[in-house]
Symmetry: C4
Subunit: 255 residues, 4 copies
């Protein structure tokens, strides 16, 4: 097994597709959007990326069969828009692995003649979000301007810590390889899996790429999460409750 090992599950048929990346991260926002696209449209798996930088494990499916941990690239037409979607259960567990995997993804994007990359994620606000804004960054001024027109906020130098992981590298390394790439980050508390934030990001993406998609599934998950939040808040207000919300790191990414 090589350090990174890409299995060609099927040929890529799209021409000059956009690449949408949604791997796990803050509020799992990016992953929720990516999986939603894969679920809602007629998608097929084209690449499976294994790597010695992913956690050493297999996943167990509903039928009890296992699959070596991987990131996956799906091909689909989103309402006519040719799209590759990169998603998966894990990011690299090592620092150099992030670079190497992002580099490999860009190689695949290059072969597939990808023109533009949308890296999706969340940005933690530290408090429960009332209005779900989408913050952006892009690797060219033109793209910053274009995204602004679709309602993306560009706050001076935000997020301050930069964009970490594969999303950040698809922009940073992507620029060096000639890709136009934008990062769309849904505002989210940072404490919970956040389907509402995912909806906000999806709205921007639909607007930017000019396609429509049913969002009922995301809305259902959002309602479930609201129930979870309500129960947590009630627990907080009980005598002997946690006092402030969230009181515990363990609440992170409840979902």
């Amino acid at each position: 097994m090589d350090e990174i090992d890409v299995v060609d599950v099927a040929e890529i048929d799209t021409e000059s597709p956009v690449l949408v990346e949604g791997l796990p991260g803050v509020g799992h926002v990016g992953k929720l959007v990516a999986e939603h696209l894969v679920d809602e449209f007629d998608s097929r798996l084209v690449r499976r990326i294994h790597s010695q930088h992913f956690p050493p494990q297999c996943t167990v499916g509903e039928d009890g069969t296992t699959e070596l941990t991987s990131a996956e690239i799906y091909e689909l037409e989103a309402d006519g828009v040719e799209t590759l979607v990169l998603t998966g259960d894990h990011q690299s567990q090592t620092i150099d692995g992030h670079y190497k995997i992002a580099d490999r993804v860009l190689g695949i994007a290059d072969e597939a003649d990808v023109g533009r990359i949308y890296a999706l994620g969340g940005v933690a606000t530290g408090e429960l979000v009332e209005e779900y804004g989408v913050v952006g960054a892009a690797n060219s001024e033109t793209l910053v301007d274009e995204m602004s027109e679709h309602g993306v906020g560009f706050d001076e130098g935000e997020p301050e810590g930069g964009i970490v992981g594969v999303s950040g590298l698809l922009l940073g390394l992507g620029e060096r390889r000639g890709f136009e790439a934008a990062c769309l980050m849904g505002e989210t508390s940072g404490y919970l899996v956040d389907p509402k934030s995912a909806q906000a990001v999806l709205d921007v993406l639909c607007d930017a790429l000019d396609f429509e998609v049913d969002t009922e599934q995301l809305e259902d998950r959002a309602e479930e999460m609201e129930e979870v939040v309500k129960r947590l808040e009630e627990m907080n207000q009980e005598p002997g409750g946690m006092g402030s919300f969230p009181a515990d790191d363990d609440l992170r990414y409840i979902g």
Copy 2:
């Protein structure tokens, strides 16, 4: 010294043996079963695997002599069933090491014409177990069906976090190299070395491979552990006791 260094201690004489893996993990269930097989049957060491991914140390034997840390492969006939057993004191200390060591083990299995792999382990329930079930996963549907007939439970997508370490990779990487591999995981609290859970796994293995083995030693260890648990519970109920059991991470893997 290479990154992984396999010493051929003796020739492998068995033809098409099964490979049983039991390295340290949750409740040390897999290791207990593997060592029990090595102890109960007429076994001999055939391979010693050293690696720069194992902890940098030597073990000290009862006679004061030392041995460089290793995983070991033993050959034995379990009541007529030709078997290789992989066991040892450590798993890889690095992420890529897990992949590389599993890959190397599969290489050895390939040379030895191994047909099927049983990866043994425990699955943590977080509470003291009353009835010791065995949960499974396998890298083919046929094998899932077959294991079901031997009383293995296949709960939808359980364990949720997947199967971590060498066990998970023997299934995941094994599939890619054409091995049929099943993982048998004994339910265990996750807080203690658990010979009872090991017995449950061993029962399934005996049933699946059609051999019998004396389990007195495991039963004795199980009784010792029950004494330990009883003492811990008494300490809990004393004034000033720990209140709830287990109160402390330090209780993990008492044994």
Copy 3:
């Protein structure tokens, strides 16, 4: 992308410049001085150093555009003194990366015919500093003597733990490659970004290299920090305050 990847942004025109290093570290002293030089003099970016040992991320600029994480080398004439300045937002995240990046910087210094290296940093005293001394170390006795004449203190074997990170390696590896290198460390509490300590280091550097520079910006930042410290001290003295200052690791590098 290579493990370390140096982009030649512009040609280096200076002849036999000095190299001044100021990467993040204790009190961000070295970085403050390095950035001050880049800001105050007419500087231009000549090298951008990317590395798989830097955090996997991009930074976001004020206009919303991104840049792959890097260290940068600027060229400038400090009041007539030809100077290369190495600065950036991060040090290596891995142990071997520190060595490899320092080695690469020395290679660039070699090509640029650098004669002498000044590695700038802070040394933590653990308490608020009243008088800002500058402690030194150098990779030759001659240089120790020379620096002493510019008011640098050489306390027997201080700092006791040695000099860690790129600064330490520019001296240690630099010696092996024939560079004269001195480390100038401003005394600082270790709890806050410290522009006053940076001023003290800058004073020594001006004296040693015989140039002058406006320090108004650093003085302004120092006043801002004094306001921060004052507020923190007031919070400490309130009932229910933190009691001692600093009470919390989180105060480190407030700024």
Copy 4:
């Protein structure tokens, strides 16, 4: 710079010397003995080992000059016994580095025609030691027997966790390369730098190698440490004291 870089400072003149290793570890026992030999006998530095697995730093000497972190090999005649002494300020910071550095040391030992290796260290008892025993392990039964005659204790399988770091690997890897190697571990609390434990180990080494050495310096350091312990105990017994000794991990390796 290579991953490991050995500088030949001087030729090795001894023939078939013993190699004594004393790098930092439990109670700094091994390092204290190794440094004592280097100080007491007419020693000269023959090898300096740099490595990207050592902490990325330089040390600062009493005169303010710096030295890239290294382990060192000294040559000396201990009362007629030709000896190489390996000592230094650090062990490897990575897992594979331990293996690679130990391997390289064995390579040097091979070239120098070393016959026997003594790896020195401490074994933590967790409580203040009254009688300083020396526990041993060796990579051959003959050597276990021989060491027993010099008062070394071989307790069944102790230390239970094995011997970690370079000491363990000099025995484990050394055996594979044909070296006879013994580890001598002085009993020590594990909380303090322990010159008394070092004296006990030195006594065994003198007896085994048949040489004598002045131990006044070690005795002086032992008295200083006793003063430290006394003060700590007094602090413990004061109202508001720490209650039990040692109450805090921070006391580890006070010295």
